[in-house]
């Protein structure tokens, strides 16, 4: 028995408003819901991206198991080869500094940048992992 995939990926931020703007307006994730001062949730393909304020998801009175991190997390989003250049242009047009553009041994590329909370965000071709979409 195997899992069908990853369902929820989490990142932690200090400013939920800035995160919502960034992930919705620039990265075009589908907004699902928000709870003020606690979280904002997005859908991306068949996965969820859950963005929390660490103090809230880690609160002692949380009704669900506590979690929350400090420091820069990392997530990568899947894009096709021909879309990478468009994403690069789009990030630049929004004034998002690109931290690195990586050419992997098989010719696939990924681009790295930061969200407003300094999490390390990557847009990559799935084939860097031998995964065909």
């Amino acid at each position: 028995m195997k899992f069908h995939g990853v369902l929820e990926t989490c990142l932690y931020v200090d400013d939920l408003f800035a995160a919502e703007q960034f992930y919705q307006s620039i990265l075009k994730l589908d907004f699902v819901s928000r709870q003020e001062d606690r979280h904002v949730f997005f859908r991306c393909g068949n996965q969820m991206v859950l963005i929390f304020k660490t103090q809230a998801s880690n609160a002692v009175d949380s009704p669900l198991p506590r979690h929350g991190t400090e420091g820069a997390g990392h997530i990568a989003f899947a894009a096709q080869a021909h879309e990478i250049d468009t994403w690069i242009s789009q990030l630049k047009s929004y004034g998002v500094p690109l931290e690195q553009i990586m050419a992997w041994p098989d010719g696939a590329r990924s681009v790295y940048f930061r969200d407003p909370a300094k999490n390390c965000i990557e847009i990559a071709e799935s084939r860097i992992w031998g995964i065909s979409e």
Copy 2:
């Protein structure tokens, strides 16, 4: 233009050996590669689960953008309704304490437990998010 999904989800641990045993032997993720004292990588469906030692992925001499967190992260894996009970039995048989079993408003369930680094791990039906597999 939208992402096709989440490609990489990261967790951070202090003990890579314990993590590898846990994710491979108990959670049945597909082992992809390891780099001693830095990371162990798994595939899960069409996504990657990347497990790092924070000190290594956040090292100043890293050839890739730095990232790394302290504290309990969170990930959820997708399972079908009929598989949830089997997973619960399997976790118990491995002596993994269950922290919470949640029945969501639509009748879907998820189960929470901890990995050896105390990250908050969930196995959930995708329909808790209105996602059909």
